[in-house]
Each structure stands twice: as C-alpha cells, then as structure tokens.
C-alpha cells in the first residue's frame, strides 16, 4: 500500500504529465514530424511539384558522398563554425572581461555591442555589402582618404569575400554571446570575487580561475547555440550577395540545400536531394553539439 506522501507525489507527477501534453503535441507536430518527414523525402527523387515521389533508398546520400560541391560547402560550413566561432568567443570573452570588471558606462557599451542583434540579418548584410563595396564603400573610401590607396582591396572579390563575411558575422553575433556570458557572470555571488581579491588575485587571474569555471555551463550552451546557428546560416549570406547569386566561396551546406531545392534565378528543383543535404545538416548539429558537450564536460560546480 503506498503511503500518503507517495500518493501526493504520484498525483503531482500525473498533473505534470497532463500539463506537458500541449507542449509535447506541439513539439512532436512542429519538430519531430517534419524531421521524420524530411528523412522520408530524402529517400526519394522528387521535384517538389508532383504528388508522387520516386523511392530511391539511400541513392541521394550515395550521390552526396561523391558530390564535390557538397564537400566544398561542408568545408565552408566548418570554417564558419570554427573560424567564425573562434572570433566570436574570443571577442565575447574580452568584452565580458572588461564589462564585468566594474568599468563605467558598461550598460551603454553592452547595448552598443548587442545592437546588431536587434536588426534584421538582411539589413545587416546589405549594410556590410555597402561597407565593402570596392568603389564607393566606406572601407576603401577611408583608406583612400588616409592616402592608403595601395591598401584598398576588392573585399567582396573571390579571394577576400569569405574573410569579409566572417568579419561581418563576428561583428553581428559577438554581442549575443557576450550578453549570455555576462548574464552567467552576474549570477556568481560577489563573495567569491571578494574572497579572491582578499587572497591577492588580480583581475585576469580572477577571470580565468573564478569567472570562467563558474560560468562553464553557460559557455557550453552558448557554444552549442553557435554551432546550430552556424550550420543553418543562410539569410545573411544570401542578402550579402544582393539576393541575385551567392558567390561560391560562401556556399555553406544551407545555401547549397537552397540552391538544390528552390534556387532562384537558376532553379534546380531537386527536393529529395536537397532534403538529403538538410538531413546531413541535422546529423551535423547532433554530432557537433554532442562533441562540444562531451569535450567541455567538467565536474559541476554549484554555488
């Protein structure tokens, strides 16, 4: 016979389950079902316009394995994740360090750095496109006005466009990750810092030995979030190139998927094959997020 306390606990659990149902239904309907459906579509040859799909088994994935364009786009995706992510987190740490060290006007600086995140990526990409314009762009204009004509470059040309876009991406996203890290830092009880200072620790020492270990969980979430954002990166790259054609050096997996399924001016309409690319992106998210969590696993510090 269960005791009274156990009965209350069972009742609570049932109530929780009932309350979970609407969210569960939405999650299953809007995420799990489309994901399973995408997996099913990826096993077919389909233009997206007919009611019948031709089942081809794993042929789309076999073709992907031999598709050099896919592997080039995969490499570009990896570069966005690691080089872009490296830049973003390096700067986010630097800003977090300064903005949590008690400097004046820190809220103003924080708002300025966060600002790009309240602007639509399309507008940001267009703005950066103007900055980089080889003829009338601000960057070359500034260099010319300083008498540094020889330093001017075709920033959006095939050699530099990827680096140019990475700089723009770092500028765009650094504020978001900085805010996440700062919110973690602000949760740390001030006693820890006081104790460290009394013990004679400097600001840098405190940052690396107190702050970072105590916001480790937050950092892991931020890294996983970036991996997801980087893998599905599309809108910024599309808008950066004026919406006509995305330069091939910016074809991430997401851009390649778009070109294969819908395209725009040059429409390929291979919905099944494009969906296979999407499935590999999902796998990439799961694998990379898993690796990130494993690699960054540490003993939990509670405070």
């Amino acid at each position: 016979m269960p005791g009274a306390a156990e009965e209350v606990s069972m009742l609570k659990r049932k109530r929780v389950l009932v309350l979970l149902i609407p969210a569960l239904v939405l999650y299953l309907g809007l995420f799990i079902y489309p994901a399973v459906q995408a997996l099913w579509v990826s096993l077919h040859d389909w233009s997206g316009f007919t009611s019948e799909m031709k089942y081809v088994g794993l042929a789309n994935f076999a073709e992907l394995a031999r598709d050099s364009t896919y592997w080039e786009s995969f490499l570009i995706t990896l570069k966005v994740i690691f080089i872009g992510g490296g830049g973003i987190f390096l700067l986010a740490f630097i800003f977090t360090f300064f903005l949590t060290s008690g400097i004046r006007l820190r809220k103003v600086f924080r708002a300025i750095i966060f600002y790009p995140n309240v602007v639509a990526p399309i507008a940001l990409a267009t703005f950066w496109g103007f900055l980089y314009n080889p003829r009338f762009g601000l960057i070359n204009g500034l260099l010319r006005s300083l008498g540094l004509e020889s330093w001017t470059r075709t920033w959006t040309g095939p050699d530099l466009v990827f680096g140019a876009v990475l700089v723009a991406l770092v500028w765009t996203y650094v504020g978001f990750y900085m805010v996440i890290l700062i919110s973690g830092v602000e949760k740390i009880p001030p006693d820890y810092f006081d104790a460290a200072r009394i013990a004679g620790a400097g600001k840098v020492q405190i940052f690396f030995q107190i702050t970072i270990p105590l916001i480790w969980d937050v950092l892991v979430i931020a890294v996983v979030l970036w991996i997801i954002i980087a893998i599905k990166m599309f809108d910024f790259l599309f808008a950066f190139s004026g919406g006509m054609t995305v330069p091939q050096s910016l074809w991430t997996n997401a851009v390649y998927m778009f070109l294969l399924t819908f395209g725009q001016r040059v429409a390929i309409y291979r919905m099944g094959y494009g969906t296979a690319v999407a499935v590999t992106m999902l796998i990439l998210v799961v694998v990379f997020a898993g690796i990130a969590r494993l690699a960054m696993r540490r003993e939990k510090i509670e405070y």
Binding site: S47, G48, F49, T50, E63, T69, G129, Y132, N133, P134, R135, T154, W155, T156, G157, P158, L160, V161, S241, G242, G243, M244, T245, P247, Q248, L259, L260, F262, G263, Q264, R265, V266, A267, I268, Y269, R270, M271
Partner: protein
C-alpha cells in the same frame, strides 16, 4: 431595448447570409506573380487584371505579388493542394516546375482558337512566325510570353561623341580596338557585376556561338560524351575572354561587384559598355543623367566564325495557367488581355520592354535596337539563368563556377575546357 437588439441581430444575420450567398456566386481566381508591389510591370499587370475584372463582375481575382522567390511559394501552394490559377515567371522555370510535373495547361489550342482582345485574329497569329518555337516543350506551350528581352551592348551616345567615337564595332578586332581607345581616355571599357555568375556567361557564350555557330555551346553542354568541347572555337572563345581581363578592359574591382553596382557605374559613366538584356534601361531609370542617350549594338562577329553578328539571344517573361484551374476558358480570357495592343504598348512605353506581339511601337530608347531587330538573322540560346537557364544543375555547379574562374584569372582557358569536359561527362553519366 430588447426588441431593438433582436431587430439589429436579425438584420445582421440577414446581411451576413446575403454576403455569403453573393460571395459564393463569385468565381475566385488566384494570380501568383514574381513581381513585387511597386514595380512598373506589377502595376501594368495589376491594371490589366482590374480592367478585365471590371468586365467580369462575377469573378474575383486574388493577386499574390510574391517577388523573385515566388517558386518556393508555388511549391508550397501545390503541396498544400491549393494551387493558383495563374503563375507568372520565366518559361524555363515554368517548364521545370509545372511543365515537367504535368501541372501546366497546354495553351496551344487556346492560342490558335481564341481571338485576340483587340486584334482581329487568333492570339497565336499576333506573334511573329516561330516566336513560340523556343518556348515549346514536348509539343506543348505552357507559357504566354508577355514581355521580351534581347541582349545587346549598351553605350551612352553622349559619351561616345565626347570621345570622338562615331562607329560601333562589327567585328571582334574592331571591338578590341574600341576598348583600347576608351581605356586610353581613362574610362573603363567594360562594366560587369562579377557577383552575378549567369550574366558573366555572356561574353563566353556569345563568342562561342559567334565562332562555332548558332547554339553550338548548347549542343556541347548537352553532349553526354563531352567530345564537342574539343572544338577549337570554345577554347578560342575563353582565350578572348581572358584577353579582355588581361588587357584591363573590364572595370577594376568587378570581381567584387554585386548587382546592380556595375550597371549603376555604367549609367554614371564610370564605364562605357554594358552587355545586358533590354530590361536594363528601366532598372537604371532613376540614376540616368539627363544628357545620357542610349545606344546599342549587337555582339560583334568573329572573323572566320560560323555565327552571324545578327544572331541574337531572346528571352521572355510570361504567364502559365495551371491545369487545376476551375475554368480554363475564363482563365485564358484574362490571360489574353496581357497580350492586347493596349497592354503591350504600356509594357513597351512604361516598363521599357520589347513587345511580344507584332505591331507595337518601340520607345525611343530602343531606336538602335529596332534597326538591329530588322537585321536579325536568327535567335540563339541565352544562358543568363531564369528564362535562359539550361540544365540548371550543370549550370549552377559546373559551367558558371568554371567560367567565373576564367574571368577572375584563376583558371586558364585550357584548363577550363579540360575541366568542363571532364565534369560534364561525369554529370551526364550520373544522370543516366
């Protein structure tokens, strides 16, 4: 008070019922368009639909102005089981989406049977002979062309006068001499948007067909053995393209130009020559200096080449009717309004398009073009994506990237031929 409320409620119900009955009696047609609200073409199409709708009070035409990503919207509507009645896009895109899927209505019987809105002959006969040939797929016409674009070199007559240039080039050597002269005057001879991979095919494709003959490039693209790429004209064509780059005839920094940076530079006289469709003048209308006078000439011939200087590329924009439409006769009745004299004249005068039907006066800016069209010896395939798209996957993943690499100085013409041949063979073997 209660009585008044009852009366009010009763009247409200009756009005609602009457509205429902009235609404049910109306036929609803859905027009899905690639144009955005505010574009000149959108305004003309919208007015044409309004005009037609005023003659058909029992028909409601819902208009979805969806912009250039309209194909994604079409796909979603088809998959949801609510396809539109009309879809306006480029014929090749229509063929690759609706045509091949069997969703497009064959317009041939309607074109041949139904009389034009304001000309006393069937709609088909209001077009020039052979006009529909490039847009006939598997014996079926999916699209009624409502706008036409030809590709020519554009220049500013005022600038040429200032530079003392009195004659446009007829041959490639004359063209190179012209470029040199413009360069010596301190102006970039050629302008192009390096970022637009399909427009950048123009120099190679024109040269290839001028040397090897009309549609030789298209034949090579479709050659599953890849042997056609051994024809010397293709290598020569890319060598000529490389020469333009090596001699500094293309505007500095073009590799990083994103549309429409190049054509804005051109209309502001930073560069002299622009090889592009006839839809360019409307796009630069706002940036054009007052004394800018449009001039145009066809792509020059190559001495000893098989192609003619007056073989032109022509592409069209048009409208398809979906098979699922409730009333095909009614739908075609609306569609034919787009190729009436009145609407075609508006396309020519306001949207600065070349009309698709015969007998419509061209605007002044197309004066040179009119002369060119009179001398036209044939039409060859355009390669500019969209309406000119050819085997889209091969174009996007093989042809355009390799061509870009030659233009950007990253690939030699010899390696271009080697790679395009090898990759084309691989591509076609994959498609077996």
């Amino acid at each position: 008070m209660k009585t008044a409320l009852k009366w009010g409620l009763g009247l409200f119900l009756i009005a609602g019922l009457a509205f429902a009955v009235f609404a049910q009696g109306k036929t609803n047609l859905v027009y899905l368009s690639k144009w955005n609200v505010g574009e000149v073409t959108q305004g003309i199409i919208n007015d044409a639909i309004d005009d037609w709708a005023s003659d058909h009070p029992n028909v409601e035409v819902e208009r979805l102005w969806s912009g250039r990503n309209v194909n994604a919207k079409l796909m979603a509507m088809v998959q949801a089981g609510t396809p539109p009645d009309f879809y306006d896009e480029d014929p090749m895109l229509i063929e690759n989406s609706l045509g091949k899927s069997g969703l497009a209505l064959d317009l041939t019987p309607y074109l041949k049977k139904v009389k034009s809105y304001d000309i006393d002959k069937p709609v088909f006969d209001t077009f020039s002979k052979g006009f529909f040939d490039p847009w006939t797929f598997r014996g079926q016409i999916n699209t009624l062309p409502i706008q036409q674009y030809l590709t020519v070199f554009w220049y500013d007559k005022t600038l040429f006068k200032k530079l003392g240039i009195t004659k446009t080039p007829d041959t490639w050597p004359q063209f190179l001499a012209l470029c040199e002269r413009i360069k010596q005057a301190g102006i970039a001879p050629i302008v192009m948007d390096g970022g637009v991979n399909f427009y950048n095919m123009y120099y190679f494709s024109h040269l290839a067909d001028r040397i090897e003959g009309k549609n030789a490039l298209l034949d090579a693209i479709n050659d599953k053995t890849g042997k056609s790429w051994d024809k010397p004209g293709f290598l020569q064509a890319q060598r000529y393209v490389k020469e333009l780059r090596d001699k500094g005839y293309i505007i500095k920094g073009f590799e990083g130009y994103q549309f429409p940076a190049g054509q804005i530079d051109w209309v502001q006289r930073k560069g002299a020559l622009l090889l592009i469709h006839t839809y360019m003048p409307i796009e630069v209308k706002e940036s054009r200096p007052d004394d800018f006078v449009y001039g145009s000439f066809p792509f020059p011939s190559v001495p000893g080449g098989k192609g003619s200087q007056y073989d032109l590329t022509s592409i069209v924009g048009g409208v398809a009717i979906l098979k699922a439409t409730k009333d095909p006769d009614l739908a075609f009745d609306l569609l034919k309004r787009m190729v009436s004299l009145k609407v075609q004249t508006r396309f020519a005068q306001e949207a600065l398009n070349v009309p698709t039907i015969v007998g419509v006066e061209l605007p002044d800016i197309f004066k040179d073009l009119e002369d060119i069209m009179k001398k036209q010896t044939g039409t060859f395939r355009d390669y500019s994506g969209g309406p000119g798209q050819f085997e889209p996957e091969l174009a996007q993943t093989i042809m355009y990237p390799l061509n870009q690499n030659v233009l950007f100085g990253k690939l030699s013409p010899e390696d271009f031929i080697k790679q395009v041949k090898q990759k084309s063979i691989e591509y076609w073997s994959k498609k077996k």
